[in-house]
């Protein structure tokens, strides 16, 4: 990251951030909730959230990211729950950054749930 030395530099950062915002002026399509209880954090929930930030790229207009605690399925951590506009809830478990990438590409961007990584109850 370049150091900000002048109002001009700050303005440039602001412009870049504004572009990020302009991308998401519409209604959000999905909510992604990352489970971040002690068990989730120990299993890698932070890496899941970081992977979301990376994989979503400019597609952040579609989603809101939130967090919650332990859902009582500690052996399935790290987990995320994806809620779509229609109210459908999809819970994915035992994630890693590659699986998160696939979920973003297929479910978030194309609306196709990745059955393989969903938790079976």
């Amino acid at each position: 990251m370049t150091r900000i030395n002048s109002p001009k530099d700050l303005k440039a950062v602001q412009e870049k951030a504004k572009k990020d915002i302009d991308l998401r002026s519409g209604q959000k399509d999905m909510r992604i909730t990352v489970h971040m209880g002690t068990c989730g954090i120990a299993a890698g929930a932070r890496d899941v959230l970081a992977a979301l930030l990376t994989e979503l790229g400019p597609a952040t207009d579609k989603v809101t990211i939130t967090q919650t605690g332990c859902a009582g399925l500690c052996d399935q951590e790290p987990m995320l729950t994806l809620t779509d506009k229609a109210g459908g809830s999809f819970r994915y478990g035992r994630l890693d950054k590659n699986k998160v990438g696939q979920i973003v590409r297929e479910h978030v961007l194309r609306g196709q749930p990745v059955l393989e990584y969903m938790i079976k109850c």
Binding site: A17, D20, I21, I41, R46, L49, Q67, G69
Partner: protein
């Protein structure tokens, strides 16, 4: 947990669940005194049980659970590195969790990816004003997310852009932090 940054993330989660609206995280490394101080302050309701109960791994205030490991794991990490963990009343009005340990102690856990830990809580909690203070070698950096969002002209709910900015800033800051790995 392998990293101190994960313990910090876990304790910030506690503060979030306690409905705090201001959460302050301080990481201060003192090379001369060979001490590392990690402090998490919030303006939540504070401790509703005794510190002994809070630090007991088999005590939790959450229903449906039988363990509460977060604080006790952090306490163990501090003690393993020649330090201690204390719970006290914060200047912000809520709880202060203060851990001190040997900076160069052979058993000190690595700090780990602090930037991503703090960025992830910012991303998921746009309504909370986070204050991050990182000091090392006489140099201190402070980030207040409410001010940063204002400076960048971000709307209050644009947490993803804010989180990315926080991660970049802290990562850059820590690159120069000798001995804080």
């Amino acid at each position: 947990m392998r990293e101190l940054a994960l313990h910090i993330l876990d304790l910030v989660e506690n503060s979030i669940r306690a409905n705090s609206s201001v959460i302050e995280v301080t990481v201060a490394a003192d090379q001369t005194a060979d001490r590392l101080r990690i402090q998490i302050d919030d303006n939540g309701p504070g401790l509703k049980v005794t510190p002994q109960q809070a630090l007991n791994p088999f005590y939790t205030t959450k229903s449906g659970k039988r363990t509460g490991l977060g604080l006790s794991l952090f306490k163990a990490a501090a003690e393993r590195a020649g330090g201690r963990l204390t719970l006290e009343r914060s200047d912000l009005g809520g709880l202060r969790v203060l851990a001190e340990m040997g900076l160069r102690h052979v058993d000190r856990s690595p700090l780990g990816d602090l930037a991503t830990s703090l960025g992830s809580v910012v991303c998921a909690n746009p309504h909370i004003d986070f204050h991050f203070r990182i000091s090392h070698d006489g140099h201190e950096t402070c980030i207040r997310t409410s001010e940063l969002a204002h400076e960048l002209g971000l709307p209050p709910d644009d947490s993803i852009a804010l989180a990315r900015r926080v991660i970049e800033t802290i990562r850059t800051e820590l690159e120069t932090a000798r001995g804080l790995a």
